[in-house]
Subunit: 338 residues, 2 copies
């Protein structure tokens, strides 16, 4: 079509020029059927990429939104830090918001950012979220979605995660190699993928070393904080089950558990070896210092932004979002607690 | 003037309607003299507040920008957290950026946000910043500036700070009451107001208790991190000066110093009592736990946003920014290190 004008398309489809422009610019207030007609027509007549690109250019706002589930959280902070470090010197500006692990707030924030016409939303799903229509809406409005850390496998989009299953395998294997055979696991809730993967990594390690799995050794800690760790350790002791190791899905859980053990004259690591997860700054200042899995938050922040740029260029070529998982490597940091 | 039209003003001043509109809508690309002529004229003829308000309405973008000097920093995180908690449920959205304590980046970010036409910028000044023209530019473009934590007294705008001098007085007085007479002070650089105020609070306490000031007991720690604390403690020991107390302007300094003391068999608190500043989460997990000054970060975040709303309503009434300091109370948290 070469130098196709808006008016040509409008005429052919018997629609207003405004409507065509709205579709090309990704405005939400166009009937889905109409949008489809316009896009199909453009595809059919081989609408020139150049012309399209110039429409797309006006559409970009060069703003992106990062939604964190928590703010006072070392790992999420380092993601924010890593992202800003590489990206804020570019022409992009960053909206930042926090869902406070609330589904309602997460939905509200996404709808607010879509109204702001952001180019992309970067999301780690809240602990409460069970329904994912608000994520599908991001695609429907022609925006880019990148999920990170707490992801949902059924959503088609790039996902940046730590290889949690492998990291947990390594952490549990470390305890086994230290001689532990009766290893407690303080896990998260049933839904978030990270909680599932870390649990599976724990089980993989038991399987590899032929250690029978005992579900009595699993404790669910929804909030993954010190208090949860303290009370899970208390429950474990009161249950009468014996144990010589503990693998928790957060450093705060490990700290809370160690506080309980200290109170009850259970020595760490002599009586029980403990491994946490995340390598929060404070895990190297506790007494004893805590063995933990280092998650590369800064790198994750960088990868999220880079992945967005890749997605954007795919989108400009009219391609669908890539449904791929990028797994970042983690590292076991061995300290006094194990 | 009642229902004044743009064209009336344009005619009277022999300017284009676009120029008048640009001035009223706060666009930067209008010559300063022209802007002044328009604003003076409007003032002179008693341009109706209602009419003006409707111009102002279209001008607001309901976006505000928070610039943090550091991200992986408990206090700044809790400011961000407190602000988002009360403000993100409103119609405002938040740009967040980090100057990484760099003057160059701070300047760049501010100019970027002004181009984005934000309603306000909330800034804690970077450690490097010595020139403040970029802050004056915020006012010149008709935007609201709120300074917090690291402020500059010569800039006319609201400033939200901790009462640092009083907090440091209390911290030092606590050491004196514990029997310390030879108190080291690990301070920040010479410029940031917080560093000056904390130093003055330390001196106030010595004065009150008739303890002679000895400048040999003052050590400058520009980065205020563990490493700085470790090396300042080393320098103090090597200098041969005797000491029985230490007041530092950050918890990380205290932690670094305690690490050095432990290594050199100097007992905390038996040989030296230590007080930090900020109440980072990790200061309650160290061994010994650290006495420190709790800074109300969440409250500061809330106050910054509330102050912005007050400023906005003053501005709508055509009033100048309030040059006031809001001092938030802090609290001494006594732990094992003192």
């Amino acid at each position: 079509m070469g130098r196709t004008k808006l008016s040509d398309i409008a005429k052919a489809l018997e629609l207003s020029k405004t409507t065509i422009s709205k579709v090309l610019n990704g405005y939400p207030d166009v009937n889905a059927l109409t949008r489809k007609r316009v896009l199909d027509y453009i595809k059919e007549v081989g609408f020139e990429a150049n012309t399209q690109a110039s429409f797309l250019r006006t559409k970009e706002t060069k703003t992106v939104a990062l939604i964190l589930p928590q703010i006072s959280h070392d790992f999420f902070n380092s993601i924010l830090e890593g992202m800003l470090k590489i990206a804020q010197q570019t022409e992009y500006t960053f909206y930042v918001a926090c869902s406070n692990e609330s589904y309602e707030l997460e939905t509200k924030l996404i709808s607010k950012f879509l109204k702001r016409n952001v180019d992309a939303i970067f999301l780690s799903i809240s602990r409460e979220t069970r329904n994912f229509d608000h994520l599908r809406a991001i695609h429907e409005e022609g925006k880019i979605l990148v999920l990170y850390d707490k992801i949902e496998k059924t959503i088609d989009c790039p996902k940046i995660i730590i290889d949690d299953r492998k990291a947990s395998f390594t952490a549990t294997e470390h305890l086994i190699k230290k001689g532990c055979r009766k290893i407690l696991h303080f896990r998260g809730g049933f839904l978030p993928q990270i909680s599932i993967d870390r649990y599976l990594g724990y089980r993989d390690a038991l399987d590899k070393y032929d250690i029978p799995f005992d579900k009595e050794r699993i404790f669910i800690c929804e909030n993954a904080n010190e208090k949860d760790g303290f009370f899970a350790a208390k429950k474990a002791l009161e249950s009468g089950i014996d144990f010589d190791g503990l693998f928790t899905i957060s450093d705060l859980l490990a700290i809370g558990a160690i506080q309980f053990f200290k109170k009850n004259k259970i020595q760490v690591p002599e009586d029980i070896s403990v491994v946490g997860f995340s390598n929060w700054k404070l895990s190297s200042f506790t007494y004893p210092t805590i063995t933990t899995v280092d998650q590369p938050g800064n790198l994750m922040g960088e990868k999220i932004f880079q992945t967005f740029l890749t997605e954007k260029s795919l989108k400009k070529q009219g391609l669908d979002p890539e449904n791929r998982e990028i797994k970042l490597p983690s590292k076991l940091i061995i300290r006094e607690s194990s």
